[in-house]
């Protein structure tokens, strides 16, 4: 939400007006919470939770267990009280929060709290201190209230995410989507503490609200650690891929762009989020096996001998050898191993054809060839995107899977493509590859020897 578009402002305005129109008319004497202490305590609890969210791996989203405060308010204070507790998000102490975000969050949590309270009362939940005879019957309306809270909360967030465009397809967006089920489950799970706070109010007064902070913060800590490790994982992988690319000046950034291109295709053909994530890692690592090819072969200017060509043909297998032990989806491994197979069965290392080639490999092959053609090589300038697309179309059916080619072209039109910067030839000729094994327009020349 770094830049707020007009559409997003209209959306936020609509949410604010909805919140105000739902809450304001019911703001009469008898709907107001009768006791102020629970209201203040729960507002404080909400504020503490909301001000210290766990940044998730995706930068756009953060998770906080504040729903337990809102749901405790539903039981102790009723719908209006819950809406007031949710509105505390307006004065969240989170650093670097935009005004638009503040306003939206406040209105959203107020609406979600009110909806939860409405469902709770509607299903016969008793507002006030729960007493022993209320159990276990009270659990049904309370659970429904928790579901209502999650639905309104996540639904409104989903809406605002649709309004704010991302300029690129970063890994962030994918991770946000794949962690959505976990977010929903966490919110539902922590809702239980709302009922605990309410039930313990008669026994230990407001201290239950203090006590729940301990498990809440422990979970927050674990989620934070998870996100941190996930970021570290991606960053380390990228750094190591870069190390592999230092062998060849012209292929710098290739892995990252192939990863991105594979992600574009995967999303275009509607792959599941976890598979998309896996294919992006596979794209990143697809050429790792080039390390096993002697540098002098990679940099040879003349035609290759058969042994040298065999060494190049082996690089997908070498790559597999390296990454095999990573706890990846097996599909990702297959993608790395077969990314040089061709639809007509003339590729390597195994000469698979058509549907025998794993889906991941057919995706990576297209992104790989496209990036190779649109990058500068020592023997030619970078091709324009239109030319490269033309080449892909030409190869569809013989080299590439036509469905993947079309998906890629459609995705390019929709999301755009950042071309690599034009590489000036390096001063030191040691790190230049004279032939690119990925370039379909300039196949490797092999000495015929029979």
């Amino acid at each position: 939400m770094s830049r707020v578009s007009r559409a997003a402002w209209i959306y936020i305005g609509a949410v604010v007006i909805a919140a105000a129109s739902v809450v304001a008319p019911r703001f009469s004497e008898h709907a107001m919470p009768k006791s102020w202490l629970p209201l203040v305590v729960l507002m404080l609890l909400f504020l503490i939770c909301d001000s210290t969210p766990t940044p998730l791996a995706a930068r756009q989203a953060a998770w906080s267990p504040s729903s337990s405060a809102t749901l405790a308010a539903v039981v102790l204070l009723g719908p209006i009280g819950a809406a007031l507790v949710g509105a505390v998000s307006l004065i969240s102490l989170r650093p670097r929060i935009l005004l638009a975000e503040r306003v939206f969050n406040g209105a959203m949590y107020a609406l979600a709290g009110y909806a939860a309270g409405w469902v709770y009362v509607g299903l016969g939940g008793h507002v006030g201190h729960p007493h022993p005879p209320d159990f276990p019957a009270i659990i049904v309306p309370f659970a429904a209230a928790a579901v209502a809270h999650v639905v309104v909360n996540q639904g409104l967030i989903w809406g605002v995410l649709q309004m704010t465009r991302y300029d690129t397809l970063g890994p962030g967006r994918i991770q946000l989507e794949s962690s959505l089920p976990l977010l929903v489950a966490s919110d539902l799970g922590y809702a239980g503490f709302g009922l605990v706070i309410a039930a313990l109010w008669t026994v230990m007064w407001l201290f239950a609200a203090v006590l729940v902070l301990v498990p809440l913060f422990v979970a927050r800590w674990a989620m934070g650690q998870f996100a941190e490790q996930q970021r570290a994982y991606a960053a380390t992988m990228a750094a190591l891929c870069q190390a592999v690319e230092t062998k060849d000046f012209y292929t710098r950034g290739h892995s990252e762009r192939v990863s991105r291109g594979s992600g574009l295709i995967a999303r275009q053909i509607g792959m599941r989020a976890d598979r998309t994530e896996a294919i992006m890692f596979a794209g990143m690592l697809h050429d790792v096996g080039k390390l096993g090819v002697p540098t002098k072969v990679l940099q040879k200017t003349g035609p290759l001998t058969e042994e040298e060509f065999a060494a190049i043909q082996l690089h997908p297998m070498r790559g597999l050898e390296i990454v095999r032990e990573i706890g990846f989806l097996n599909e990702a491994l297959a993608g790395i191993m077969h990314h040089h197979e061709k639809i007509d069965g003339t590729g390597y290392p195994m000469g698979l054809a058509d549907d025998e080639i794993p889906e991941f490999a057919r995706v990576i092959a297209v992104a790989d060839a496209f990036d190779s053609m649109t990058s500068t090589r020592s023997y030619r300038e970078a091709r324009r995107m239109s030319e490269a697309i033309e080449e892909l179309r030409k190869g569809a059916g013989s080299q590439f899977d036509p469905a993947m080619v079309e998906a890629f072209i459609a995705a390019l039109h929709r999301e755009g493509w950042r071309l690599p910067e034009r590489a000036a030839p390096p001063a030191d000729r040691q790190t230049v590859t004279a032939q690119d094994h990925d370039d379909p327009t300039a196949p490797l020349r092999v000495i015929e020897s029979y």
């Binding site: 239980g192 313990l200 006590l211 301990v214 998870f226 380390t236 032990e325």
Partner: protein
């Protein structure tokens, strides 16, 4: 087998290993006594509550989770068992529950744990007897200690809930401490680590989950008065979320280590170093680091750095013959270390690891500033492996150690070489068996 190995080690380890036996015997005796007493009584006091808590313990044991460093925890089972031990009154049932004897608490916990462990055994996973015994002993301590306090009628929930709370908090903390101490004793024995270091690591790693489970246990025992047994369902949600968060955390941590390990192999596949070199150096370095009493976080950094210590060689146009960095010139060693550190610091999250890789080429003496201990360990372990390789020959290993020892005047840290000698001796001993 594990016990026989232990007999060949230093005498001090022997005492430690009988500690594990002692734990199992103690837990076994507790269980036998608890079951015998419950059977003798002819019936379980307050059967419904016992079944409810026993089921919660079984579920918790079924959903055990692995923590970093091969540890395991069962926060849901721990919380349920502690709560049962601290239970004062359940609302549907009139009258206090505290006449449930500590031995019944132990019996219910043991049965719940056993039921929860069954699916693990059926699926061919380890039963985790040691972990269960540790948790059982901790719960038993809390249950036995709580009875006299309640019996003295100090606690009247409504009037003095904070007295009850304080007592419970102290007991839960003590129980956690018992668990951490037993865990550390066993770990120190298994890994040849120092007990003080192991205890500190154990406490640091178990604190978050222990705090969550302990506080939940106290809340469960209080909430039972208002919510009755339905509370167990309500508490299951938050505890499950906490558990899932931890599971994901330790999962990605494991994947991360696998990735570093796999990518460290690029140097081997590329023919830059001898096959298996990175892994051997890292195993050796971690063993030496443990011998020197490094804490677990430092050991993890050391492991990463040792795995990637040769990654700088990727930037060389041609592989060094045999990949043995100990044989190339000082300038080349420096350059490889610098290049490797640059690659690693690109990640932006492994700065300490990069630092260890950068300083691995510094001699122990005469360099200002002094290289960090991790770098000194990698330097020695790398040199040892370059000279010995995968060979298990005693003479070759002795010759390599002698060469390192001769270089302690400048190149290698004498303390590190000493520890390396220890580690090599232990390895030879365990191989000879």
């Amino acid at each position: 087998m594990a016990i026989r190995q232990a007999e060949d080690r230093l005498p001090s380890w022997q005492a430690m290993d009988s500690g594990r036996l002692l734990l199992l015997v103690a837990a076994g005796m507790l269980v036998v006594a608890a079951l015998a007493r419950t059977a003798a009584a002819g019936s379980v006091v307050d059967l419904r509550t016992a079944i409810a808590f026993g089921s919660a313990i079984a579920i918790g044991e079924l959903l055990r989770l692995g923590l970093p460093g091969g540890r395991e925890a069962a926060p849901i089972a721990t919380a349920a068992a502690l709560a049962y031990a601290l239970l004062i009154r359940v609302h549907q049932l009139q009258g206090p529950v505290t006449h449930v004897a500590a031995l019944q608490v132990i019996a219910v916990t043991a049965v719940g744990m056993t039921v929860g462990a069954m699916p693990h055994i059926a699926a061919g996973r380890p039963a985790g007897v040691t972990g269960m015994a540790t948790r059982l002993v901790a719960v038993a301590c809390v249950a036995f200690a709580f009875r006299p306090v309640v019996g003295a009628d100090v606690i009247r929930m409504r009037d003095h809930w904070w007295v009850a709370f304080a007592v419970m908090a102290v007991l839960v903390a003590a129980g956690w401490l018992v668990e951490a101490t037993i865990g550390a004793l066993i770990r120190a024995d298994d890994l040849h680590a120092r007990f003080s270091v192991a205890l500190w690591d154990e406490m640091r790693l178990q604190l978050p989950l222990g705090a969550a489970a302990g506080v939940s246990a106290i809340m469960i025992s209080f909430a039972a008065e208002v919510m009755g047994l339905a509370e167990l369902v309500v508490f299951m949600g938050p505890l499950l979320v906490t558990q899932v968060a931890f599971r994901r955390y330790s999962g990605i941590r494991a994947t991360y280590l696998q990735t570093v390990r796999a990518l460290a192999r690029v140097t081997e596949v590329g023919g830059y170093v001898e096959s298996g070199h990175s892994r051997r150096v890292s195993r050796l370095a971690v063993a030496v680091g443990r011998e020197l009493g490094l804490a677990e976080t430092d050991l993890l950094d050391l492991q990463y750095a040792a795995l990637m210590h040769d990654i700088g060689q990727l930037s060389l146009p041609d592989p060094i013959p045999g990949g043995a960095t100990v044989l190339v010139s000082i300038q080349d060693q420096r350059r490889i270390a610098e290049l490797g550190a640059d690659v690693i610091s690109q990640a932006g999250v492994l700065d300490r690891v990069a630092e260890l890789v950068r300083c691995q080429s510094w001699p122990y003496r005469g360099h200002d500033p002094e290289p960090p201990v991790g770098s000194r360990i990698i330097r020695a372990a790398n040199a040892f492996d370059d000279l010995v390789g995968g060979s298990t020959d005693r003479d070759r290993s002795a010759a390599a150690l002698e060469r390192l020892r001769l270089d302690t005047a400048v190149e290698y840290d004498p303390g590190v070489v000493e520890a390396l000698t220890e580690v090599a001796a232990k390895r030879l001993a365990s191989r000879l068996e």
